[in-house]
C-alpha cells in the first residue's frame, strides 16, 4: 500500500466526495469529518514511513499518460513537500471540524474534499503538466467557496481571484512547454518530468526568459507585490473556512513552486534576479504592513499581515542557501498554522457579532478571556516572538539572506518590527480598554467546536517553536540536495558565488571537527 500511498492520498478525498453526493444532508458533517480524519491519519502514516535520512524523492509512482508528448503520472515527495501535504490534510480536517457555516453544509464539505485532492496533488506531482492540472483545478473549488458562501461582494472577489491566477498560470504553461521543447531539442525525447528537467543545463539567456514566465504564474499565486491585489478581496469576502484554506495552503503553492521549479531549473537566473526579487519582497513586507496598520476590518489586518509574511518567505527562498530555503519552507508551515489560526479566530468573533470592524469591539479581554488568550498567543506567534513557530522560520530566512546582503536583511528585520506594531495595535483596539458597546458584554467565550480547532493549532505553534527539529531536519536534508544541485548546475560566476557548495561546506565541517579532536 505504501507504494501507492500518494495516489491514495490524492484520490481518496475525491472518491469520498463523489460518493458523498449519495449521503443524506443530516449526517453529512460526520461523513466529512470521518473522511478527513482518515486522510489525515494516512498523511501521518506517510510522515512516519518517510525516511528522513534520504534527501531524494520517496514513494515515487509513475506511469505514462500521454506518451507521444512525454506527459506522465509521476508522483513523489521529499522533505519539502511532505510537511505541506500533512498540513493540507490537517487543515482540511480542522476546517471541517470547526465549520460554523450553516448554509448548504453538504455542498461545502464536498467542495472542500475536492479542494483537498487538488492541494495534495500539487505538492505530490513531479510532472510539470500533472502539477499544472492540479494547480489549475484548485481554482475551481475555491472559486465556488468564495462565490457561493462569501460576503456581499463575493462574486467580484471570486472572479478576480480566478482570473488573476488563471492568466498567470497560462504564461507559466507556455514556460513549461518551452522547457519541454528545449528538453526535446537536447535529448530527442519529449518529457515533462521535473526530475528529468533538473538534469538539463540551459544557457543563461534562456533561463532568464523562462524564469520570468514561471515567475508570473507563481508570483500571482503567492501573491507578490504588485500582483497581490486579488488577495485582500478574496480574504475579505471569503467565508472563514475559505480564508483559512487559502492562507494556510493555497498561497503556499506559489512559494513551494519557486523552490521546486524556479530555483533548481534556473539557478543562474535565480541568482541574477535575487536582488530585484529581494527588493520586491521587502516592499511587500513594508508596504503591506503599513496597509495593514491602516485597516479597520480585523480580517483585512490578518490578510495583509499574511501577504507581509509571504514576503519573508520569498526573501528566505531567494537567499539561495540552505539556511534561507529551509527557513522559508519552515516558515511556510508556520505561516500556515498561524495565519490559519488567526482567520479561525476572526471567524469566531464574526459568528457572534456579524461584524469584523475593530471599532465595534474593545475590552473583549474581560468578556472573553480564553478567546483573548488564544488570540494573544497567535498574535505573538505572528509577530515572530521567540519560542513560537514563526520565529524559527523568520530567523532562519533572515539568517540565510544576511549572508547575501546585510542592508536588505536589516530593512526586512525592521519591517518585521512594523509588523509587531500593527498587530499589537489591532489587539489593543479589540481586547483592551473598557467595553463600550452593550452587545459585547453578553458575548460567550469559546465553545467546544472552536476549541477543537484552536487547541491543536496552539499546541503546534508552541511545540514546533521550542523543538522544531522533527520538521526541520527532513526539510534541511532535501534542501541541501537542491542547493547542491543548483551549485553544480550554475554556469555563471555570479551564481557559483552566490549559491554555496554544500558538499564542500560539510566536508569542511568534518575536517575542522577532526582537527579539534
Amino acid at each position: 500500500m505504501l507504494d501507492h500511498i500518494l495516489s491514495i492520498l490524492i484520490f481518496f478525498p475525491s472518491v469520498a466526495a463523489v460518493l458523498g453526493f449519495v449521503v443524506s444532508k443530516e449526517g453529512f458533517r460526520a461523513y466529512g469529518i470521518t473522511v478527513a480524519t482518515i486522510e489525515f491519519a494516512l498523511s501521518l502514516w506517510l510522515w512516519y514511513a518517510y525516511d528522513a535520512g534520504v534527501s531524494g524523492m520517496q514513494f515515487m509512482e509513475e506511469f505514462s499518460l500521454i506518451e507521444q508528448f512525454g506527459i506522465s503520472y509521476l508522483l513523489g515527495i521529499d522533505g519539502i513537500s511532505l510537511f505541506i501535504i500533512v498540513l493540507s490534510a490537517f487543515f482540511t480536517l480542522l476546517g471541517i471540524v470547526s465549520l460554523t457555516e450553516t448554509r448548504r453544509v453538504k455542498e461545502l464539505i464536498i467542495t472542500l474534499l475536492f479542494l483537498e485532492m487538488t492541494m495534495i496533488g500539487v505538492f505530490a506531482a513531479l510532472d510539470a503538466i500533472l502539477f499544472y492540472v492540479f494547480w489549475e483545478l484548485s481554482l475551481v473549488p475555491m472559486l465556488y467557496i468564495i462565490g457561493a458562501w462569501g460576503g456581499p461582494k463575493r462574486i467580484y472577489a471570486s472572479v478576480k481571484f480566478f482570473l488573476y491566477t488563471f492568466a498567470g498560470s497560462l504564461v507559466m504553461l507556455i514556460g513549461m512547454l518551452f522547457m519541454a521543447y528545449f528538453y526535446h531539442e537536447a535529448t530527442g525525447n519529449w518529457s515533462f518530468s521535473i526530475l528529468e528537467w533538473y538534469r538539463l543545463i540551459l544557457p543563461e539567456s534562456f533561463q532568464l526568459w523562462l524564469f520570468v514566465a514561471f515567475f508570473f504564474g507563481f508570483a500571482i499565486k503567492v501573491p507578490m507585490f504588485p500582483f497581490h491585489t486579488w488577495l485582500p478581496y478574496a480574504h475579505g469576502q471569503a467565508p472563514t473556512i475559505g480564508s483559512v484554506i487559502l492562507a494556510a495552503i493555497l498561497l503556499k503553492m506559489g512559494t513551494y513552486a519557486f523552490v521546486r521549479f524556479s530555483l533548481p531549473l534556473f539557478p543562474d537566473a535565480s541568482a541574477f534576479f535575487m536582488f530585484p526579487i529581494a527588493v520586491i519582497a521587502i516592499i511587500m513586507i513594508v508596504y503591506t504592513a503599513m496597509v495593514a496598520y491602516a485597516q479597520e476590518d480585523v480580517k483585512q489586518v490578518v490578510a495583509y499581515s499574511s501577504v507581509s509574511h509571504m514576503g519573508v518567505i520569498i526573501l528566505g527562498t531567494f537567499a539561495l542557501n540552505v539556511e534561507g530555503i529551509s527557513g522559508s519552507i519552515f516558515l511556510m508551515i508556520a505561516h500556515g498554522v498561524v495565519s490559519g489560526a488567526l482567520f479561525l479566530l476572526v471567524g469566531v468573533i464574526y459568528d457572534r457579532r456579524h461584524t469584523k470592524m475593530m471599532d465595534q469591539f474593545g475590552g473583549l479581554a474581560s468578556v472573553m478571556p480564553r478567546y483573548a488568550t488564544v488570540f494573544g498567543i497567535m498574535m505573538m506567534a505572528s509577530v515572530g516572538m521567540p519560542l513560537t513557530i514563526n520565529f524559527v522560520g523568520e530567523f532562519l530566512s533572515l539568517l540565510g539572506f544576511y549572508q547575501q546582503s546585510h542592508m536588505l536583511t536589516l530593512l526586512a528585520g525592521l519591517a518585521i518590527i512594523v509588523g509587531a506594531i500593527y498587530m499589537l495595535a489591532a489587539y489593543k483596539k479589540m481586547f483592551f480598554g473598557e467595553v463600550t458597546i452593550d452587545e459585547n458584554k453578553k458575548l460567550k467565550d469559546l465553545n467546544k467546536t472552536e476549541y477543537m480547532g484552536l487547541i491543536p493549532l496552539t499546541i503546534i505553534t508552541i511545540w514546533l517553536g521550542i523543538y522544531p527539529k522533527p520538521v526541520l531536519e527532513p526539510i534541511n536534508n532535501s534542501v541541501e540536495s537542491i542547493v547542491q544541485l543548483m551549485h553544480d548546475k550554475a554556469i555563471t560566476e555570479d551564481a557559483k558565488a552566490k549559491i554555496p557548495n554544500v558538499r564542500e561546506i560539510k566536508q569542511g565541517h568534518t575536517i575542522s571537527h577532526g582537527e579539534a579532536h
Binding site: V140, Y144, L177
Partner: protein
C-alpha cells in the same frame, strides 16, 4: 481528330467514392420511404440516418486501414484523394454528425424534424462535406462546398421561426458571396498555372517564382476572403452570431464543428501549399487574421447577454485559435488542429445540447431571447446535475485541465512554441484567460446567484436521447486524458504520412 478515350473501370478506382455514396444512397432511401408512406415518425428517420452514418463511418475505418497499408489512394482521374487528412476529416465529420442527429429526438415537437426532407438534406450535406475534404481539385471542392452549404441553408430555414428565415437568408447571401470569391480565386489560379489541382498549382508557382506574383496574390486574397466567410474569421464573421441565434441550438452547435473542420482541411491543403511556395506577405496576413479573430471575438463575447450568442462568439474565437495551426504549418500543429477539433466537438456539442434541453417552445413574457444568462440563475439549487454538466462544459471550453479542450490547447501551444511562434503562443494564452471570463460568467450565474424560478424552465425539452448524448459528451470531456495518447498517435501518423 480527337483520340477516343478509353477508361477501364479499374483505373477509376470507384471505391474511393464509397463513403460519400453511402450517405447519398441513404438520403435517397429516406426520400423513397417518404414517397411510399408519408407521415412516419421522426424517430424512424433519426435511426435510419444514424445507421447510414454508421455504415459511412465503417467504410471510413476500412479506408483508414487501406491508408495505413498502402498510403494515399487516388481515384477518378486523380480527382478523388483519399489521404490521411481526408480520412481523418471525414471521420470527424461523420462522427460529429452522429453526435448531432440523436438531438432531434426532443420531447417537445419541433417543426423541422417532422419532415423527412430534413434528414435527407442532412445526409446530402454530409456527402458534400466529404467531397470537399476528399479532393485537391478546386472544382470538386467547390461542388462539395456548395452542395453542403445549400443543404445547410435549408436546414436552418426549416426551424420555422422568423429569426430562422432571417438567419438562413443572411447565411445564404454571405455564402453566395463567399462562393463567388472562391470561384474567382480558383479562376485566377487556373489562369496562372493552367490547372485546378492544388499540387499542380503548387508546382507551377514554385517553378515560376515571382513572375506571376501579382496574380497569385489576387487569387490568394480571394481565397482568403472565401474561407474567411466559411470559417467565420473576423472581419468576415458578421453572419455567425445571427445565424447561430436563428437556428436551433443543436444545429448551431453542429455548425460550429462540422462545416468548419471541412473548411480547415481545404485551407490546410491550399494555404500551406501557398506558404510553402513562398507567397510573400501571406504569413503576415494569416498572423494578423489569427490574432484579430481570437481577440476581437473574445471581446465581443464578453458583452453578450445571451448564452447562445456568447457561445457563437466563443466558437469564432476557437476557430481563430485553431487557424494558428495553418500558420505554424508543422506536423505537430496540424496534428494539434485535429486533436483540438475532436475534443472541441464533444465539449461544444455538449454545451449546445445543454441549451437545447432548456429550449422552450414559446418565449415566456419578459424574456428577450431563448437563452439569456438570467435564465440559468441559481441552477445549482434547482437542477444540480444539469448545472454541473453545464459548468463542466464551460470549464472545458475555458481550457481548464484536465478537461477535454485543455489537451488540445496545450498541444496547440506546444506546437506554436516548437514552431518558433513564441509571441503568438503568448497571445493565444492570454486570449484563453480573457475567454475564461465569459465562461465563468455563466458559472457565476448558475452557481452563485439565487434562482429566479423553481427550475421548470430547464430540461423542458429533455428526453432520454438528449440526456444520453449529453452524458456521452460529459464522459468524453472528463476522461479525455485517456484518449489523448492514442488519438495523437493515430493523427500524427495520418497527418505525417499525407505529407503535412
Amino acid at each position: 481528330m480527337l483520340e477516343p478515350v478509353n477508361v477501364s473501370l479499374a483505373s477509376l478506382n470507384i471505391m474511393t467514392l464509397t463513403p460519400m455514396l453511402i450517405a447519398i444512397i441513404g438520403a435517397l432511401g429516406i426520400i423513397t420511404i417518404d414517397l411510399l408512406k408519408s407521415n412516419l415518425d421522426k424517430s424512424l428517420y433519426v435511426m435510419l440516418s444514424l445507421l447510414v452514418l454508421l455504415l459511412d463511418l465503417g467504410s471510413l475505418i476500412d479506408w483508414a486501414g487501406v491508408f495505413t497499408e498502402n498510403g494515399t489512394v487516388l481515384g477518378f482521374f486523380d480527382v478523388m484523394l483519399m489521404d490521411g487528412l481526408s480520412i481523418l476529416a471525414q471521420i470527424v465529420i461523420v462522427g460529429g454528425s452522429m453526435l448531432f442527429i440523436p438531438l432531434a429526438l426532443t420531447s417537445k415537437r419541433f417543426h423541422e424534424f417532422s419532415y423527412p426532407e430534413f434528414f435527407a438534406l442532412f445526409l446530402f450535406m454530409i456527402a458534400g462535406f466529404q467531397f470537399m475534404v476528399a479532393s485537391d481539385n478546386l472544382i470538386l471542392i467547390f461542388v462539395g462546398l456548395e452542395t453542403a452549404s445549400l443543404a445547410l441553408y435549408t436546414l436552418i430555414a426549416l426551424h420555422n421561426r422568423s429569426k430562422s428565415f432571417e438567419a438562413a437568408v443572411k447565411y445564404f447571401t454571405m455564402g453566395a458571396l463567399a462562393a463567388g470569391f472562391y470561384a474567382f480565386g480558383a479562376m485566377v489560379f487556373y489562369a496562372v498555372s493552367g490547372s485546378v489541382e492544388i499540387n499542380q498549382i503548387s508546382a507551377v508557382i514554385s517553378a515560376t517564382g515571382n513572375d506571376n506574383i501579382a496574380f497569385v496574390l489576387v487569387g490568394t486574397v480571394f481565397m482568403l476572403a472565401a474561407f474567411g466567410f466559411k470559417l467565420s474569421m473576423v472581419p468576415f464573421h458578421t453572419w455567425t452570431p445571427d445565424v447561430y441565434e436563428g437556428s436551433s441550438a443543436a444545429l448551431a452547435g453542429y455548425m460550429s464543428i462540422v462545416p468548419k473542420i471541412a473548411g480547415f482541411v481545404v485551407v490546410m491543403r491550399l494555404f500551406e501549399m501557398l506558404i510553402n511556395s513562398g507567397v510573400v506577405w501571406l504569413e503576415v496576413v494569416l498572423y494578423v487574421f489569427v490574432v484579430i479573430t481570437m481577440t476581437a471575438a473574445n471581446i465581443w463575447a464578453l458583452v453578450q447577454s445571451d448564452v447562445k450568442r456568447m457561445l457563437a462568439y466563443s466558437s469564432i474565437s476557437h476557430a481563430g485559435f485553431v487557424m494558428a495551426a495553418i500558420l505554424i504549418g508543422t506536423t505537430q500543429a496540424n496534428t494539434a488542429l485535429f486533436l483540438y477539433w475532436i475534443l472541441f466537438s464533444f465539449t461544444n456539442l455538449g454545451a449546445f445540447a445543454m441549451l437545447w434541453v432548456s429550449r422552450q417552445k414559446e418565449l415566456p413574457a419578459g424574456q428577450s431571447s431563448d437563452h439569456p444568462f438570467e435564465k440559468f440563475s441559481g441552477m445549482i439549487k434547482t437542477m444540480p446535475m444539469a448545472a454541473m454538466m453545464m459548468g463542466l462544459f464551460m470549464l472545458s471550453l475555458a481550457g481548464l485541465p484536465p478537461f477535454g479542450l485543455f489537451w488540445g490547447k496545450m498541444y496547440m501551444l506546444g506546437a506554436a512554441v516548437s514552431g518558433g511562434y513564441t509571441v503568438l503562443a503568448l497571445i493565444m494564452a492570454l486570449n484563453s484567460a480573457i475567454a475564461a471570463y465569459y465562461y465563468l460568467k455563466l458559472i457565476v450565474y448558475m452557481f452563485m446567484r439565487e434562482p429566479i424560478n423553481n427550475g421548470q424552465d430547464y430540461m423542458v425539452n429533455a428526453s432520454l436521447s438528449l440526456k444520453t448524448m449529453i452524458g456521452l459528451a460529459a464522459v468524453a470531456t472528463i476522461f479525455s486524458v485517456i484518449a489523448v495518447d492514442p488519438l495523437l498517435e493515430v493523427i500524427t501518423t495520418f497527418v505525417y504520412n499525407s505529407g503535412y
